[in-house]
Assembly symmetry: C2
Homo-oligomer: 242 residues x 2
Amino acid sequence: LHPERVSVVLVTPRNPLNIGAAARAMSNFGFFDLRLVQPYDVAYREARSAVGAGRVLEESRVFDDLAAAVADATLVVGTTSVGHRELVHPLLRLEKGASRLRKHDGRLALLFGSEKFGLGNDDLAHCHWLMRIPTREEHGSMNLGQSVAVCLYELIRDGRAPAPLRTLGRKEKPAASADEERITELLLDALRQSGYVPPRASASAELKVRRLIRRMRLTAGDAEIWQGMLRQILWKIGYPEG
Amino acid sequence: LHPERVSVVLVTPRNPLNIGAAARAMSNFGFFDLRLVQPYDVAYREARSAVGAGRVLEESRVFDDLAAAVADATLVVGTTSVGHRELVHPLLRLEKGASRLRKHDGRLALLFGSEKFGLGNDDLAHCHWLMRIPTREEHGSMNLGQSVAVCLYELIRDGRAPAPLRTLGRKEKPAASADEERITELLLDALRQSGYVPPRASASAELKVRRLIRRMRLTAGDAEIWQGMLRQILWKIGYPEG
């Protein structure tokens, strides 16, 4: 899939914020060909004149009907976030649909319906198949800008991207953040009292210690041991003759 | 990963629309524990009172500081859409990070920074590691509601979801939409003139024909043949004695 061969087609969008959000997600993920079919005029003008509208909106094109908007596409795919009423079209979950799209060699038009009604039957008849964003059945309907973001993300997604990361070496239960924070406070207290950091430790020293503790990836058991040790040390610092 | 063990934490969000959009994406994807750290007061009230705010916003909780908001979490992960400045934290692309999160057994706090600045150094110090949404370098910064949608989608993503679909059986170039539309028009014309459909064909008959043609997944070569055949048929209908 070449992003420059993908057209994002918004059918009768009504809300300038959604148009702007769709354009922004396109730019975020490297797609630049935005087409609008009969957008609500005021909304389109408002979106284009918004601060930071950027290249995608500037270069966007308006069409009178969907047939014209997708005329150069060799594959037209509609998106929906609700389970479709009459299943006249093949309907794929986004994960699978996108993996097919990635193999498509030619111009792709990806259709998004209006905020209120999604794609109508007239629009769907122009589609070769449909993709469904796997939302909950009880609350399927997604915001337009978010639908565009999720679909385009899935298109550029790279499951084989490299990713080294140090892992917890042990099987024990990890410590809760509250424990890590308590250890941070105790250690800072000890460091202040011992003169390792000034009495009113700088914010940057605090950050360093907080990160240091987080990097340890303590288990719940070890976190308890550390708190005991530090409390004892603090007690000794407070009562050197004790 | 159990969605009920995931807390979405918005740190100092400023815009009621973004708060609402984050909550909506959560509900779409089945996450319900929303926490806000020092949200802009007016924005939070506005978001809660918006039409259709729903359960997620109703049950959301506000915290005075991040430490309190993540106290019960055993894993705290920050999100960012820009390549991070000082790499003191392990930084994973979303695809890889999410696959780790899915294996986490315990409460997870997923942090999102404010619209303008993202997560600050003070916030990052509470994180065990960071995830980066793979946006373009030239335009990395994402809208808050869209970031939440993309991250949660990745968490519930199921690459093994079933998906049968009829494919193009041949290796030839697929027909462009404009060709399919031309065939649709020609065939409808022939059907009207031949009395198969009434002269002023109903919209539903038109839809049926349009879908019929799309389902054929014609190659560019076959599309041309079809146009030729239909034109000839139409000519014959027009000049029955010819």
